[in-house]
Symmetry: D2
Subunit: 138 residues, 4 copies
């Protein structure tokens, strides 16, 4: 399953190069992940309410073309389990059907109470497995 | 007492107008307030540890001149009590001795537990009174 | 005419108080203004292409209630001319029909070339007048 | 040569997890790179004035430990040429002598006029070679 999220570039996300600042992409990626989780039936607020945090532990991103103010960016995301604690997201960003960026983001599941790694909650594990690219990989 | 805080403009704080985005000023003001409180003996971390929050409840700012990438901004801040719950900050921002912005910011004291307004902790009340512009005003 | 813009709070817009950081509101206000101008037939990109900039010169905002992660914020905006160079926006922010913030923002028109104040371009003047709250005020 | 840059975490850089948001690190890395270039005699403003841009084209970062509000982050950076167009930076971030993050960032040199890749200006090439980890690599 490929999830698609669209977002319009804000003025404050540009810099004096006249294009979107490279850190702003991380906010688009985050919003895309969160909407994907919502569509999989796992709103992130629910995950935190149940006592879990999902911080980013690894991120790599390639910038292949400029994104400009007012552009509409399409973020296409796939998700997969990386064992029982980590989740991997693969993202491609498009503007007007041209690819402008690719990113891989990995989250780890922490207990909100202990701040130690714990297994992902069952409802999230199952939702990600059902989403497809998700044979349990160690 | 006028507190002086200096900060260098980051690239990501500019926008495609080629100047600092207007929202970035709020981060400079916040950093200046926090360094002032630290210098008054009241580090903000300590305030939160003791169970208080100080959210901004009112802010007004005038932009009088462009601030550019790599500029060093001097934020001159005075503080005053506004009764027992609220604190007012008056700020002037300078670049190369020219005033570029003026702002007034008001914080309110909340209990971290109840999220309701409460009197400022004694150590903070006293520190602000000692800082000077601080006759207890209702 | 009251323009309505809706935006969902991003995770990165919160701070450790567990609510939206006060500077993030300025990005919502900016996006709302820009969508209003687009709906009035004056996309901001077009304004810059024609050689004008519209920096914020004055902003005041009251924070009346916490905005939380994942909330959907409705920004209701009205616009009015302030003479031939400046534009004023009045904004109210709502979450679940409760008002959470009010703001007044003033922009000035600059020539992109000289960076000096100039009269607003005719197409923008007319669009704002047609939008209503717009008797020419000095 | 290892360059060291220190920066204090701002309140607005945290999120509701109670730690620094992962996108904020990119601003620390950028500030560190820029201070390193300044110390090498190549202020970034000068680079742009001479007609060049240095956008980020590739970035990967590992988050190894939480960074908290008010922490002082030390960014240790080394730089190397990657041919005549690209520059690579290796960064390690420390808080209280514990490593909290590692990142690799690659910039490409563009002509400000054509927005096409061009060779790095001579003064920058030489400065980076002199900085050491810099055998010309294709």
């Amino acid at each position: 399953m490929v999830h698609n999220y669209r977002v319009r570039v804000r003025y404050g996300e540009t810099d004096q190069m006249g294009r979107v600042h490279h850190a702003s992409y991380l906010h688009y990626l985050e919003a895309a992940r969160i909407e994907m989780l919502r569509d999989l039936g796992c709103p992130y607020t629910e995950i935190e309410l149940q006592g879990f945090l999902l911080p980013v532990i690894d991120l790599s991103i390639k910038y292949k073309g400029a994104v400009l103010y007012d552009d509409i960016v399409s973020v296409q995301t796939t998700v997969m389990l990386k064992g029982r604690i980590r989740i991997g997201f693969n993202c491609q960003l498009f503007v007007h059907d041209a690819i402008v960026s690719e990113a891989i983001v990995e989250l780890a599941c922490l207990s909100k109470e202990t701040l130690r790694p714990v297994a992902l909650p069952e409802f999230l594990l199952r939702a990600i497995q059902d989403a497809g690219d998700s044979t349990l990989q160690q």
